[in-house]
């Protein structure tokens, strides 16, 4: 289904459908907070939270379809060689909710700057004060953001896919960079030992960072010029 019907920050588009979505952290956090999306609970939500939940509803069927396809194909495999030994890191799921929509937690402003690298202008402008925007090639760009309700004035610089990129296009870029890399570089020295990080450069020169834990990958566009 297209994005437009879900771009609503005043009401949950389909409460029953939202209730039925399982296993999505971003939705589960609000299930408790709203007493399973009871009208009294929904009344507590801020406009950006309503919009975020509607977008989770929009993304959910697509995320299931994409991840089922990846699993059926045997997963994605990142191969890197160190000291003559090949190491394989498997990916069986892309965390599309974190990577494309971003985090949001009831009553919290701090998580909202995490992830969310698909540029959905309505969501970003409802959630953030926007600072400087700088392109880093092929339409990818950095944008400074801080939560509209944040207590501090500290911005975060997040990277974004090109304006107008669809879910399928973003996923295709990641899959393409894993399957046909120009270069794979491990991110050295990550202190969380269950987390593996890679920079993947595809054959167009576009770079992506992938962080993989328990075979689930979060990702974002990345570059240094």
């Amino acid at each position: 289904m297209g994005l437009d019907p879900f771009l609503n920050s005043e009401k949950i588009i389909d409460v029953e459908r939202l209730k039925s979505i399982e296993g999505v952290d971003q939705i589960e956090k609000y299930r408790d907070y709203t007493n399973n999306f009871h009208p009294d609970g929904i009344a507590k939500l801020k406009p950006e939270e309503i919009l975020h939940l509607n977008l989770c509803d929009w993304l959910a069927p697509k995320a299931i379809e994409i991840n089922e396809r990846i699993r059926k194909a045997g997963g994605l495999k990142i191969s890197e060689t160190r000291n003559g030994i090949e190491y394989i890191t498997e990916i069986y799921e892309l965390d599309l909710f974190h990577s494309l929509l971003g985090e949001m937690k009831p009553g919290s402003v701090r998580d909202a700057t995490k992830g969310g690298h698909l540029f959905i202008s309505e969501l970003k402008s409802a959630t953030f004060d926007i600072g400087e925007i700088k392109s880093f090639g092929n339409g990818f760009f950095d944008m400074e953001i801080k939560h509209v309700r944040g207590l501090s004035d500290q911005y975060k610089t997040n990277s974004f896919f090109q304006v107008g990129t669809s879910i399928d296009e973003a996923v295709a870029m990641i899959e393409n960079s894993v399957l046909f890399p120009y270069e794979i570089r491990i991110i050295e020295g990550i202190k969380n030992k269950s987390l593996k990080g890679f920079h993947l450069i595809n054959k167009n020169g576009d770079s992506f960072a992938l962080f993989i834990e328990n075979k689930v990958a979060q990702f974002y566009p990345y570059n240094i010029k």
Partner: protein
Amino acid sequence: MIIKKHDMFAIKLNIFSNLNIYAIIKPVGGLYYVRQLLIYSFGSIRRIRVLCFIENMKTKYKNGISYEEVDINIDNENDLVYLSESYHTYDTKPMTKEIDDLFEAENFIELCKIGFLDYDVMTKENFIHILLLWDKILDQVPPFALLYQDDKNWFDVLPFDTQEAMEKFVADHTKLEETQK
């Protein structure tokens, strides 16, 4: 000058004219958050221009700015800059109500001071020195560069033409420490 900690880098331009910066000693040398800044977040700083970034430290970034791989937090009272770990690693640590409240207030400096966040800390003057010099180094693209912290806790970066020259510099300034002991 005695080198306390260091990291060595190889720097290359790839065919897309993007900079690739590799840490070339394993394990890496313990200047973790400065290294995260120089390797992974410096592209964003260069995109807005380093001089503009430094100017913004008086206004828009007066308390700091966050990137995916490192948070830059400015303690204006003490003229210090804390480079602290990003959510990729701190999200897995157990939280308390006090820590949660500090995150909500985005008080990263206090989170460093109470030991919840890992960090590197330097003076504001030293931080600006590193920004300017690393920018110049990346413009010149020398094959190798050294990041080190000396016995006065000053952080510095130096370009090198060969790995041997870089290693000799480190050896010379580490030997000195052994001689003086």
